[in-house]
């Protein structure tokens, strides 16, 4: 990390050419990963990377310069380049006074990334491989990836704020392939957190490997999913991909400010009564958690939707500046190579009061989603899709046969308005959220909910009858 005198000189150089404010972001990180396929470990990857990103903002213009060179002369050169790129006027000497650094730059994880060496990683992965393959003869292939990251971050800006943090992140994922005759199906499972290897105390790699294999086997017997509109119950264990796509991106302030979000008015009714959505980076150890965002703002939760009403958006400093308010500590970046923009952290539909099992019992027919994959959204009109990796027909209020090959499509605001049951449970899923070419780790969560209808894109022709008659304008 850079010493305070150097940070000060970089910031002063960056602002010399007329910018409003400047920021330096320094990263030094070590990754380690192990990959197993064919019951063989052949891809072990360990790496080291360091870099800096210097940002200067003047009015509506941002200049961003990044580099791997951390010598003083290279850093001052980068600062000069960024400073001159904002086309400010004249020669300004601004003196920067840096405050005491906030943050934790020592490890306070009980089992930090370095605590598990390659031997142990290999052992964990091989034992998970055995667990998955032991689930049944049709399991043809299992691939398992395990990775950890230890990252030191230093952020300093021209308001004098300094943050120094040590962050650990761990993640594993398993993909199992089952085959029978010419039919191939897959099952996957993953876990991760902004934490060290103490994650192994909370989640089981071998347990999840077996789950992935069992899902692949179950899907071999699944019928093609029906096609058409139907009621959908999404189990809490399915995780929150839907909330992420249905409203998460649409509540990022940069999209709202550019007129690119369908959620354009605070105070408007955007969801059914009882639906509340919160983004909270302060949750302990979740994949999207952090103590400070990537602009150095201390983490805090944001109530986005409260009982159906749109309350707030996710702000970074530039967006907050436009509205003369404080940011919501959602300024995140993939690495020193990217400028921060508003991003989600851990985004949740809050639990309600209904009994999850009763929700299924009270649904005559429809689709039960137990596991979701990825998704995508067009924030401008709110249309989204997400992938169903484990689904079951609901028949007479009971869980029926498994179905495969379904994508659900819907329209964010319409779907949120059509949530008519909210369970008292809560389930999380993790992922990497992509926006503007940058990926950040996130977690999404929801309770068991029922949506009156979604379009299910299976191949099996018309599905179960609609629960309610169509009313209002047809189509999305």
């Amino acid at each position: 990390m850079l010493d305070r005198k150097l940070l000060t000189r970089i910031l002063e150089e960056a602002l010399r050419y007329g910018g409003d404010w400047a920021e330096v972001y320094v990263e030094e990180k070590r990754n380690s990963s192990v990959f197993c396929e064919d019951s063989r470990i052949e891809k072990i990857n360990q790496g080291f990377e360091q870099g800096v990103g210097i940002r200067v903002v003047k009015g509506e213009r941002t200049a961003y310069v990044s580099s791997n060179q951390l010598d003083e002369s290279d850093l001052l050169q980068a600062a000069r380049l960024a400073g001159q790129s904002v086309k400010g006027s004249g020669d300004r000497e601004k003196s920067i006074q840096l405050h005491q650094a906030a943050g934790h730059n020592t490890a306070d994880y009980s089992r930090p990334a370095e605590a598990i060496n390659i031997d142990k990683k290999v052992e964990l992965v091989m034992s998970a491989d055995r667990a998955a393959r032991g689930c049944g003869a049709p399991i043809r292939q299992v691939s398992i990836g395990l990775a950890d990251l230890s990252k030191s971050v230093q952020i300093a800006n021209s308001w004098g704020e300094v943050v120094e943090e040590l962050v650990n992140r761990v993640r594993w994922s398993i993909n199992a392939i089952a085959a029978r005759d010419s039919l191939i199906q897959t099952g996957s499972a993953s876990s991760g957190g902004t934490c060290g290897w103490e994650l192994l105390n909370k989640a089981s790699l071998t347990g999840q490997a077996a789950q992935a294999a069992e899902l692949a086997l179950r899907m071999l017997d699944a019928e093609p999913a029906p096609a058409g509109r139907m009621p959908v119950v999404m189990a809490a264990e399915a995780g929150g991909t839907m909330v992420h796509e249905a409203c998460g991106h649409g509540l990022e302030a940069d999209l709202v400010q550019k007129g690119l979000s369908v959620y354009s008015k605070k105070g408007a009714l955007v969801a059914a009564p009882g639906v509340s959505v919160v983004d909270d980076p302060t949750l302990e150890g979740r994949y999207g958690s952090y103590r400070f965002d990537d602009e150095g703002s201390p983490a805090r939760p944001t109530y986005l939707i409260k009982d159906g009403v749109l309350e707030d958006y996710l702000y970074d400093r530039v967006c907050a500046g436009r509205e003369g308010r404080r940011d919501s500590c959602n300024g995140r970046r993939e690495s020193y190579q990217d400028k921060p923009i508003p991003r989600m952290s851990n985004t949740m539909i809050m639990p309600g009061k209904d009994d999850p099992e009763e929700i299924i019992r009270s649904t005559p027919s429809g689709l039960l989603v137990k596991k979701m994959g990825g998704g995508q959204v067009n924030t401008i009109n709110g249309d989204f899709v997400f992938d169903v990796q484990e689904g079951y027909l609901i028949q007479n209020g009971r869980i029926g046969p498994p179905v495969r090959g379904a994508t659900l499509t819907g329209n964010g605001p319409r779907v949120l308005m059509n949530i008519d049951r909210i369970g008292s449970d809560l389930g999380f899923s993790i992922g990497v959220c992509g926006k503007d070419g940058q990926g950040v780790p996130v977690a999404d969560a929801q309770p068991t909910i029922r949506i009156k209808e979604l379009v299910v894109g299976g191949t099996a022709g018309r599905g179960p009858q609609k629960l309610y008659a169509f009313s209002g304008r047809p189509g999305f």
């Binding site: 790496g47 085959a179 550019k258």
Partner: protein
């Protein structure tokens, strides 16, 4: 540049040789410029420099890999040591192989245009501004521009190994893209278009503006279709999205490890006889063109599918040696931080005889698909897909109302079998190209 690289590279290889090991080093140094304009003003100006190296070390047939941004001699020595230690944990039952440089030579390709570096920053800002203005003026319904951007990249790569591979190239690329919103009443649609070129003088803001605006206004007023099976025509852009998934299924490593539906299908007529698909690393001015792949194997042109018959997979050196199949020079690295894996270079579905207008008339009634959503969710192992789709209805052989809010579903293998006709309108999108494709039927879900 090349000599300072080869000094570091030599240090790595020497360190490997001193330990009695086989080694390879991939060094890259590059810079990127990106300019985003909004309402005529520069909103973001980004300049990035990156340098790093990835090192593969093989110890008695076992692989270790490290990467670092530190290109000093000490870091090189450290990295080789780390990789060598890792190799001890790697499986040793099947030896790991990297290419042999004996007799290897590379084609000369035009990869660098000095005009990109010579053009001034103001010229480049001007291109982004011009693109924004043109897009706005093309149609009154264009309500907002999300961003209008110019981007360029320049990088040098040196790849050397202890088996006499030595490969160096200096590359640059430039491009423009625009993202906008069109409105009609309550209805809002987005449009996006991009262009990547090897030569600065080939950048054309007018065609990109038109593509983005048409992409948005054509979807205004979109409604779903009735659920059922129907004939579909995919526009070239959508076809290239599906080709990308097909490339994953043609990865020899995936095939031999049971991760592809195309295992055991070489020589079979797996797809429609109307389809011929090639991967061409030597295409003049192709965006994916390269004289060597990312482990130093020569780039080549490979016929993957010939009139429906599967002729070849895409293979890197290791899979070629282990599975006794032809190496096709298909190793790619996402960055110096990753091991090479198989990928396409310029992946082209060859055009056919039918003009797009004729195709619509011949279809009569169907779904003309211009956009898909959720392609990253398609399962390359099972070939199953179910993705959001949008476009226009084909009625009486003409494009009529806009369609939106539907999904199309099926299996990729079936999709490429059920081809009625191949269009003559070949279009390139980066390293992939295809014409329009008429499919006899797809499962559409809407109402």
């Amino acid at each position: 540049m090349e000599s300072s690289f080869s000094q570091v590279g030599e240090k790595v290889l020497q360190s490997a040789r001193n330990r009695g090991l086989t080694g390879e080093v991939f060094i890259i140094k590059g810079r990127e410029l990106s300019i985003e304009v909004r309402n005529g003003e520069v909103e973001t100006l980004k300049q990035a420099e990156e340098s790093g190296m990835g090192i593969r070390i093989i110890d008695r047939g076992r692989l270790g890999f490290t990467f670092t941004t530190d290109l000093s001699p000490q870091a090189a020595e450290q990295a080789v040591g780390d990789a060598a230690r890792q190799a001890g944990y790697s499986a040793g039952d099947k030896p790991y192989e990297i290419p042999d440089g004996q007799g290897v030579s590379y084609a000369t390709l035009p990869l660098f245009d000095p005009a990109i570096g010579r053009a001034s920053l103001d010229d480049k800002i001007g291109l982004a501004r011009d693109l924004e203005t043109k897009a706005r003026e093309l149609d009154k319904r264009v309500a907002r521009l999300d961003s209008s951007a110019y981007q360029e990249t320049e990088y040098s790569v040196l790849l050397m190994n202890t088996r006499d591979i030595y490969a160096f190239k200096k590359v640059n690329l430039c491009g423009v893209n625009v993202s906008l919103v069109a409105e009609a009443g309550d209805d809002v649609q987005s449009g996006f278009a991009f262009m990547v070129r090897r030569r600065f003088d080939e950048l054309d803001t007018s065609s990109i503006a038109r593509e983005a605006v048409e992409g948005a206004v054509d979807l205004l007023g979109g409604q779903p279709l009735a659920t059922g099976q129907m004939p579909c025509v995919m526009d070239p852009y959508v076809v290239t999205r599906f080709l990308a998934v097909l490339a994953q299924m043609l990865d020899a490593d995936a095939v031999f490890k049971g991760r592809s539906l195309l295992k055991g299908c070489l020589g079979e007529d797996v797809f429609s006889p109307l389809l011929t698909i090639v991967d061409d690393s030597l295409l003049e001015n192709g965006i994916g063109s390269t004289p060597f792949d990312s482990e130093g194997m020569p780039g080549q042109k490979t016929t993957l599918v010939d009139k429906g018959v599967l002729r070849s997979y895409l293979a890197d050196y290791l899979t070629a040696v282990r599975e006794n199949c032809p190496a096709t020079g298909s190793a790619r690295r996402a960055s110096f931080r990753s091991l090479p894996s198989v990928g396409s270079s310029n992946l082209i579905l060859q055009p056919g005889p039918m003009k797009p207008g004729e195709m619509l008339k011949a279809v009569g009634r169907g779904f003309y698909i211009t956009d898909v959503m959720g392609m990253h969710m398609v399962n390359p192992v099972s070939g199953q897909f179910s993705v959001g789709a949008a476009g226009r209805l084909i009625e009486g052989g003409e494009l009529t109302r806009a369609v939106r809010g539907v999904t199309i579903a099926g299996n990729l293998k079936e999709l490429f079998r059920n081809v009625e006709a191949v269009g003559s309108d070949l279009k390139f999108y980066g390293g992939r190209a295809a014409p329009s494709l008429w499919l006899s039927h797809l499962s559409v879900a809407g109402q």
